[in-house]
């Protein structure tokens, strides 16, 4: 079955330190991978995506993600965390093609940045 997993329910990081939020996937064929962020009482916001090309993808708010095909991972990273980065982060994968494609979300990782 095609799926995406986020093994950590919560990640705690001190402000100014690097952060990593983990994601692994299981899909047939070439994966289309995404990261979304959800702030309290708001909808999901798109951060970045990997479709093809360079394995290091840069996105919004200084975030980046590294696609690793051999490890089937797409970890989200940021060199220096901010308190304002505290939110719920979702990894997602697109399955299917064309207008019938849909996105499957992971269970989410709550990122908490302490001052």
């Amino acid at each position: 079955a095609q799926s995406v997993a986020q093994p950590e329910d919560q990640v705690n990081v001190a402000e100014g330190n690097p952060l990593t939020v983990k994601c692994t996937y299981s899909v047939s064929g070439n994966p289309y991978l995404f990261w979304y962020v959800q702030y309290p009482n708001r909808g999901l916001q798109f951060l970045l995506k990997y479709i093809t090309g360079d394995n290091l993808v840069k996105g919004s708010y200084g975030f980046e993600a590294e696609f690793n095909k051999s490890q089937t991972s797409f970890h989200l990273k940021k060199p220096s965390a901010l308190v304002s980065d505290s939110a719920l982060y979702f990894c997602a994968v697109r399955v299917g093609g064309g207008s019938a494609s849909k996105i499957i979300f992971g269970s989410g990782t709550r990122l908490s940045i302490r001052p």
Binding site: Y32, K49, S99, K102, I103, G108
Partner: protein, 112 residues
């Protein structure tokens, strides 16, 4: 560009009552999605429209949930009758059929 609009933002009902949610997608977006996000979980796709046609409703509990997008623009999602386990945030998203989806703020439903 205006984003995806949803209303109401919050709704509290008793079990066995009916409720309806409304979504206005971004202008020109042919694809519209309804998701259910239960607390502590990722969003789960309920139904996907391409214009006014249903592309995927495999995870929609059709005995109580229904959705329509009659003119290929706005959409409504209805629950009748509601159960306690329907308490969740209902997210609407729209897209052009490409890789990215744009999400509305969601409707938080509490069923008592």
């Amino acid at each position: 560009e205006a984003g995806v609009a949803q209303s109401p933002r919050y709704k509290i009902i008793e079990k066995r009552q009916s409720v309806a949610f409304w979504c206005n997608p971004i202008s020109g977006h042919a694809t519209l999605y309804w998701y259910q996000q239960i607390l502590g979980q990722g969003p789960k796709l309920l139904i996907q429209f391409q214009n006014n046609g249903v592309v995927d409703d495999s995870q929609l509990p059709k005995d109580r949930f229904s959705a329509e997008r009659l003119k290929g623009v706005d959409s409504t999602l209805k629950i009748q009758p509601a159960k306690l386990e329907d308490s969740a945030v209902y997210l609407c998203a729209s897209g052009t059929g490409g890789h990215e989806q744009f999400f509305g703020p969601g409707t938080r439903l509490t069923v008592l």
